[in-house]
């Protein structure tokens, strides 16, 4: 980067006449002594710093007129010397960002003292956003943080920090009030969030931190009057139903077209056989449309206006001897899909007591939530024939699961409405997160903290079939089956940390060391029982046990213990060094391979304090940072993957089955930790007294020895379990993150604009034997692949090259005019697996966010845009709506299908014999996934009048907000933000990204709300 600043040096020679001594104490706003504060004679380099009692002494000459007092995070003060010999100064905190206290792993530091790459989000930013989950509020807020929201009610979001470095799950680690791996609390209760991005920042969390760390601190009570806050909002949701599906008449037209093609005879007697076979009901509808065409719009049937509601109340206070914060929160959401919803009630209690050298406290988060049937029914709604009625009049108004009939409609597609209404599904879960800690200031600068945390989660889901469950238009079931699955996980964490903090002259040292241990246990019980009466879905009462009843269970335990150490040193708050080391031992690995050590180091140079920059007034602050470190990962490995798992394989001897047990898999005995080596270069700059700030980071991560469940040859003999965990490859992520903000106040009007930008590239640099790892599949074809030189889970398939036309000489054997032409990449005259190539990628080149906040008198306005650029989406919905399968409904594009008299089209001919042609994964289904979205627009008004202060109301604000209001994209699906979930058993989760497979659609949300503080 070019530096446009002209550096000016002023050299001032000092003539020395008479001398006198000036002394004094420098304290902060609370009266506490400030250690290392600087006192200089204005306009000279002559000066000193305060000692550990905040005391200073400085001799000045008769010419010296003024002293400048400064301390990082505080506004500089200039005081005329005059005749004084004692000058005591109380410093005022600088309100700009650099003085923020940033929570780092096992400690805190000032933002200005950071040596590593950390982004911070504060409660004020969060409170402006009415969201139901904290994850959502991260979107577009911090550079290097990619968030893909989940539209499912109560659903979280997929978060990636600095790209995806493994096909495995690469979720960042959440640390909430010191509880590692905790669930995110309510955004209203959050004081601050720090996102730790580079290895130097994350290394203290060792193997847990390899995908970045999000540290969340919840609020504490503050000194003064007790505070109460009430936040409430209510919102409406709807979705874009912009998928142009055929209505009943178009559907009939489509079949008429098909019939015309089936009967078509060209001038030379040519025919186009293998058209669609006409469903019987369509045949009838062609004759008597009035009778057979219910003209159902299935999208209208399954989607409704959703609603969302959140109420949060908190009370807090603090004193010299302690503080407390208590908050209750209730959320409820009726999703846009009929029958979907989510409800949650939670409680946050934080309190702390101080006595003598001791500080004792706890953070408790307890929540209870329930979710309805939130599985997306988009696919069956898209497919269902518009000829069919939702309710069959003949069946007494009952909703039939199979309104059609396989033989009449060539389709066994369920009625999505009945599928929701006739089933019963409920998930209930309780989560308790508790951290209890005690802290003691042993002697000056030495603190010991012991922290015990636990997370207990119980989840129970019940589903019960209902009438028509099993048969296709079959008879009603008189009894149904119910499955109840419950699981319980208990996590315990115990930490003991010793911290020593001392400044000697200009040397500031913090040493931290500690020991932590974590243990998790998980148990699950799954049951299925049939023989329930259909009348009441909630009841457990049933008939006798049935032969298909079963109970199965699972139990596993894991543990991790670590020793951690950190040394931070800075000289004169100018030269910084931080060194971390963490040594982890994990129960997942075999004895002898359990322990590993991960060091990191980071350096910073506060260059703006150097004499050659000090006098450039425009540059208020400039710091250069560099870091390098390694972090291990054991993610993706199960509790017992390296244990001798057994697998059953029974056989019949005589006339009975005898139990057979064999080895459940092959173990790679050389398996070691996956290690990410990460380097970071960056700078923080503030110009013009905080008007403009800029932070930029370049990062380069090399992840070595990816822990992958890699396919092994079938000849290894594992049958369907043909995979083994190996250190299978390397991945590089590099990129650039820029965050910039401008803030300005002009009379009644103030604004700040902040923007962040991330450019990131992921490249697989090696894989075992240059193997390609297949990912998501559909119709026996892989949709994504991971290969050297490409990203993780890039789209893979054939290259669509138009439609074969009558008379084309190169129509392949078995195909005919109207079929899809793919590029024959290897030129062998056949279309085979070798003609597949990489046809797109789901990871964007750029992600960005732009927030504009403005205030004028009592009004506040917040506008937030975010977007991605340079990614593609595999529009899997087209598999359902543009390949003419069975009697499924199609998009209106089907009307434009290739016909002898409609040759200029990109939609292939009518046929259902498409297995080796239409349905191949190809660039035909790949679309540009870039978008810019007006994610949030909020207008607020704060009421101020004399009455308010009389009844002691500190703040009353009303606001209206809209989310997902406008989206600029070329993507043709419902929404370009595609959060495709991989099946839970699949550990190649990141290879499923960007596949739009009839997901629960992202809704627009309109909200009105109120904030009340008193």
């Amino acid at each position: 980067m070019k530096n446009y600043f002209i550096l000016v040096f002023l050299f001032i020679s000092i003539a020395t006449f008479g001398q006198k001594a000036i002394k004094g104490n420098i304290v902060d706003e609370k009266g506490e002594p400030l250690i290392g504060a600087t006192v200089v004679v204005s306009g000279t380099t002559k000066g000193t710093v305060t000692n550990i009692d905040g005391h200073y002494e400085l001799s000045v000459s008769a010419n010296d007129q003024e002293l400048t007092y400064s301390y990082i995070g505080y506004l500089a003060k200039k005081i005329l010397i005059g005749n004084k010999t004692t000058i005591n100064v109380a410093m005022t905190p600088d309100q700009v960002s650099l003085s923020e206290i940033v929570v780092i792993g096992y400690g805190t530091t000032k933002k200005s003292d950071l040596t590593s790459s950390i982004s911070t989000i504060k409660s004020e930013e969060l409170s402006k956003l009415p969201v139901t989950t904290l994850e959502q509020s991260l979107q577009g807020r911090a550079a290097g943080v990619t968030v893909i929201q989940s539209a499912t009610p109560g659903g979280g979001a997929t978060i990636r920090i600095r790209g995806t470095n493994s096909p495995n799950g690469t979720d960042p680690l959440w640390v909430v009030d010191g509880i590692i791996g905790a669930q995110a609390p309510n955004s209203n209760d959050v004081e601050s969030m720090q996102i730790l991005k580079d290895a130097a920042a994350c290394a203290i969390y060792g193997s847990r931190g390899s995908n970045g760390v999000i540290i969340v601190s919840t609020k504490k009570g503050k000194k003064g009057e007790p505070k109460m806050t009430l936040n409430s909002f209510y919102g409406w949701q709807d979705i874009k139903k912009n998928l142009a599906m055929m209505d009943g008449n178009q559907y009939i037209q489509y079949w008429q077209n098909n019939k015309a093609v089936n009967n078509y005879v060209g001038p030379n007697g040519e025919k186009y056989p293998n058209g669609l076979s006409m469903p019987a009901r369509v045949d009838s509808a062609l004759v008597n449309p009035g009778k057979y065409n219910a003209n159902t719009n299935w999208l209208d049937q399954i989607y409704r206006n959703g609603s969302i509601h959140n109420l949060n109340f908190s009370i807090s206070n603090g004193s010299e001897t302690g503080n407390y914060f208590v908050s209750v929160d209730n959320k409820s959401q009726d999703g846009v899909q009929v029958g979907s919803g989510f409800q949650q009630t939670s409680l946050q209690v934080n309190s702390e007591l101080k006595k003598g050298i001791f500080k004792i406290g706890e953070n408790l988060n307890a929540k209870q939530s329930s979710a309805g049937d939130n599985g997306s029914r988009l696919q069956s709604a898209l497919r269902q024939s518009p000829l069919l009625a939702v309710r069959n009049i003949k069946a007494d108004g009952e909703i039939e699961l199979w309104p059609g009939n396989t033989s009449l409609d060539n389709s066994n597609n369920p009625n999505p409405v009945a599928d929701i209404m006739n089933h019963y599904y409920k998930n209930v879960s309780d989560v308790i997160q508790l951290a209890v800690y005690a802290e003691a200031d042993l002697f000056k600068g030495m603190t010991f903290k012991s922290n015990y945390s636990t997370i207990i989660a119980n989840s129970n889901d019940q589903s019960k079939g209902f009438k028509y469950l099993d048969g296709q238009a079959g008879p009603q079931n008189t009894t149904v089956s119910m499955s109840v699955n419950s699981n319980r996980s208990v996590y315990k964490q115990f930490e003991n940390i010793l911290t020593f903090n001392r400044s000697i002259a200009k040397h500031n040292i913090v040493l931290m060391g500690g020991y932590t241990r974590e243990a998790s246990a998980y148990r699950a019980l799954n049951t299925n029982h049939s023989g329930f009466n259909v009348s009441n879905p909630e009841t457990y009462a049933s008939k006798e046990p049935n032969t298909s009843d079963y109970i199965s269970g699972y139990f596993e335990e894991t543990s991790l213990q670590s020793v951690i150490a950190r040394a931070t040193y800075n000289f004169n708050s100018r030269y910084y060094l931080t060194a971390n080391v963490r040594r982890d031992g994990s129960s997942k690995f075999l004895e002898g391979h359990r322990w590993s050590t991960f060091p990191s180091v980071s350096l910073a140079w506060r260059i703006s304090d150097e004499s050659f920059l000090k006098n450039i007034r425009q540059i208020k602050y400039l710091k250069l940072r560099a870091s390098y470190g390694s972090i291990g990962s054991q993610s993706g490995i199960g509790a017992y993957n390296l244990r001798s798992l057994s697998s059953s394989a029974n056989y019949v001897f005589g006339n009975s089955t005898q139990q057979g047990i064999t080895q459940g898999g092959i173990i790679d005995k050389n398996l070691t930790w996956e290690t990410t080596y990460s380097s970071n270069l960056g700078f923080d700059l503030e110009l013009f007294d905080g008007l403009l700030s800029l932070t930029a980071d370049y990062f380069n991560k090399n992840t070595k020895g990816l822990l992958l469940n890699t396919p092994v040859p079938f000849s290894a003999g594992l049958d369907y379990r043909s995979s083994v965990f190996r250190n299978a490859g390397d991945v590089n992520n590099k990129g650039l993150e820029i965050t910039s903000s401008i803030r300005k106040k002009l009379g009644d009007f103030s604004f700040d604009i902040s923007a962040n930008f991330t450019k990131e590239k992921t490249t697989v640099t090696s894989l075992i034997k240059d193997q390609i790892f297949s990912g998501a599949t559909q119709y026996y074809s892989y949709l994504t692949n991971t290969a050297v030189g490409h990203g993780i889970g890039d789209f893979y398939g054939y290259v669509f090259n138009g439609i074969y036309q009558i008379g084309d000489k190169d129509i392949l054997a078995g195909l005919q005019a109207g079929d899809v032409r793919y590029k024959d990449l290897n030129g062998d005259g056949k279309i085979t697996a070798e003609d597949q190539t990489f046809i797109g990628k789901s990871v964007p080149d750029y992600t960005f966010g732009l927030t504009i906040n403005a205030e004028w008198k009592n009004f506040d306005l917040s506008i937030f845009f975010q977007g991605v650029q340079g990614n593609q989406i595999f529009n899997h919905n087209l598999y359902h709506t543009e390949i003419f399968a069975k009697g499924f409904n199609q998009s209106t594009k089907a009307l434009d299908a290739w016909r002898p008299d409609n040759p200029s089209t990109t939609v292939p001919r009518y046929t259902d014999q498409h297995t080796n042609n239409y349905a191949l994964p190809s660039s035909r289904f790949i679309e540009d996934g870039s978008y810019i979205r007006l994610q949030n627009l909020t207008l607020g008004y704060t009421v101020t009048n004399s009455l308010m202060s009389k009844i002691k109301i500190d703040k009353l604000r009303f606001y209206a907000s809209a989310q997902n209001l406008l989206t600029f994209t070329r993507y043709s699906g419902i929404d370009p933000e595609v959060n495709s979930a991989a099946p839970s058993w699949d550990n190649m989760k990141n290879t499923f990204r960007g596949i739009d497979n009839s997901l629960y659609p992202v809704a627009k949300t309109y909200v009105v709300g109120m904030e009340l503080n008193f």
Partner: protein
């Protein structure tokens, strides 16, 4: 760093105690970590698992029989249904390619069998917790099974296939020469023989829960078969090999390795009630799972399977949910001799055919015959009616059904109606029986200058036995000769094959062992690809016969291609020279 590390370790140890225990977790799920070093009952479970793949879909549950039958001239593939059966059609018409799911399934499951045999061998061999006698038996079984799986793989995929020598090998390399795999099979079977011999584990001992375990007779029979196949498939040194084979078969006939004899009734070899009889050397065990079959036989839950030959080819279509993936040809029907106007009885036991046995079909719409017996023309309406899709698809040709391995009559009574839609049967698959051994011995004698006639005649004599009184009323027209008096098959010297004993042996094997997945391998080892090509080119006599469909370019290579997925994952392996 090391110093820091050590300081902290010491500090930790002092303050919190040594905590390696804290990160030691054992897996108490499944069988626990110590399972594989356990005693005899654990070892037995490991051996049981080595048997399990035998009854999986890729082997004798379904594919092994369908593949062998439809690729030979005794049956043909009939139907073109979903993905899986597209593969079946390709197999049956020699049009398969390296992406065939069916070939992959065979490959996967046979290697799974080898892996599970190796798990047993690796963990039992040096295990001191097992008494010697049990140890010898278990290892004998595991060696037998490993050879059994390699034998199948060799027949399907050739001789240069991956050699998996222990259970921890993740990327096996191939056998180096085309004799290595044969040597390995011979070594394993000799080892098995030796073990069984030491402890006298013959069919007299493998009773009760041991019924179905490989024993001395099974190992000897398979060893003889391996020698015989080797002799005929590798032209070199064949006389030595044939003598070796003969010696093994003679041990069986001379009752040196157990007590074996032909059952008086031919049908006893294909019934559930007469499993593990004196004719049987090795069977694949199947059981009745009532209506739950689909839930338990998903090939990956460790559950034992049912035999699906019945569903595949023997039940009548009127029973519903009939697959009809294959149907016997007129070629096999016509192969049966007629003497003095009486047909070889085995024809009626083997095929559903006009004028043959009745089928009890409870599901027939016609109330008058519901629950009663019906004959071929009624029960197999689809197959015989030229106006149905079968007729449209296959013209005037008629299809027959396999009756062998079909359900016993009694199966289709009212009480069992729930099972009508089941996909499999409980009848064990007889992999090797004494009649097969006699005929293989006859073959060895013939090619080494001995006299094959006594063995052939034993088999022919048994075929003349009357069906005993089991639900005779269901066996069709009660005046049919096979229900009332002895058959009239003459001895081989008085038959039309008297002047050509090679043809006599080949004929006898075809009719005696029809529908038993042997014809295909016989064609291969006899180098009779020309037989299939002739059939393809010239067809059968036009009247009611259908052709075997073989690609015109067929050059007589019977190998299945090595699955593409294996080649993708294993760079040590090259494709074989299949088509």
């Amino acid at each position: 760093m090391k110093i820091v590390k050590n300081i902290f370790l010491v500090l930790t140890a002092l303050i919190f105690g040594c905590s390696e225990d804290f990160i030691t977790k054992t897996n108490n799920d499944n069988m626990g970590e110590g399972f594989f070093n356990g005693g005899a009952s654990n070892a037995e479970k490991m051996v049981n698992a080595a048997y399990a793949p035998l009854q999986k879909n890729g082997l004798y549950c379904r594919t092994a029989s369908q593949l062998a039958q439809t690729r030979s001239d005794e049956a043909r593939i009939t139907k073109n249904t979903p993905k899986m059966q597209e593969d079946g059609v390709a197999m049956g018409t020699y049009n398969e390619n390296a992406n065939s799911q069916m070939a992959e399934m065979i490959w996967r499951q046979a290697y799974n069998g080898i892996f599970q045999s190796n798990v047993a061998i690796d963990n039992i061999t040096n295990n001191k917790n097992i008494a010697d006698e049990k140890k010898l038996q278990f290892l004998g079984e595991a060696y037998f099974l490993r050879a059994f799986y390699y034998f199948h793989l060799t027949m399907y995929f050739g001789e240069i296939i991956p050699e998996q020598t222990n259970s921890g090998e993740s990327v096996p390399s191939p056998f180096k020469t085309d004799t290595d795999v044969w040597e390995m099979m011979v070594a394993d079977l000799k080892q098995a023989q030796k073990n069984f011999e030491t402890i006298g584990f013959t069919n007299a001992k493998s009773v009760g829960d041991n019924l179905g375990r490989a024993n001395l007779g099974a190992a000897t029979g398979l060893l003889g078969k391996v020698y015989l196949y080797n002799a005929q498939m590798k032209k070199s040194n064949s006389t030595d090999m044939l003598n070796l084979a003969k010696a093994e078969f003679k041990k069986i006939v001379d009752q040196k390795v157990g007590s074996y004899s032909l059952m008086p009734n031919y049908m006893d070899n294909f019934r559930n009630s007469t499993e593990y009889n004196s004719e049987s050397l090795f069977e694949i065990g199947f059981m009745d799972y009532g209506t739950k079959v689909w839930e338990i036989d998903q090939d990956n839950d460790g559950g034992a399977e049912t035999n699906r030959i019945a569903k595949n080819a023997t039940m009548c279509d009127a029973v519903g949910e009939m697959w009809w993936n294959e149907a016997p040809t007129a070629r096999i029907l016509n192969e049966y001799e007629t003497n003095n106007g009486v047909k070889d009885f085995r024809c009626y036991y083997t095929l559903w055919q006009p004028g043959g046995a009745y089928f009890n079909d409870y599901k027939l719409e016609n109330e008058a015959v519901k629950g009663y017996v019906v004959h071929y023309e009624n029960a197999f309406t689809d197959l015989t009616n030229t106006t149905t899709k079968w007729g449209t698809e296959y013209g005037d040709y008629r299809f027959y059904g396999w009756r062998k391995y079909g359900f016993d009559y009694n199966y289709w009574v009212k009480d069992n109606i729930d099972k009508v839609n089941k996909v499999g049967s409980d009848i064990n698959y007889r992999y090797m029986r004494y009649a097969d051994v006699l005929l293989m011995l006859a073959e060895c004698e013939f090619y080494t200058g001995g006299d094959p006639k006594p063995m052939i005649n034993q088999v022919r004599a048994r075929a003349n036995n009357v069906v005993p009184d089991i639900n005779q009323s269901t066996w069709g027209n009660s005046s049919l000769p096979y229900l009332t008096s002895q058959g009239t098959l003459p001895t081989v010297e008085n038959s039309k094959y008297s002047s050509n004993l090679e043809a006599a042996i080949q004929h006898e094997r075809m009719v005696e062992l029809a529908c038993e997945a042997t014809r295909y391998y016989d064609i291969i080892r006899w180098n009779k690809a020309s037989l299939l090509i002739d059939l393809r080119k010239n067809g059968f006599p036009k009247a009611n016969i259908h052709e075997i469909i073989i690609d015109p370019g067929f050059t007589g290579n019977f190998l299945l291609p090595i699955p593409q997925e294996e080649l993708n994952r294993n760079s040590n392996i090259k494709q074989n020279n299949s088509n």
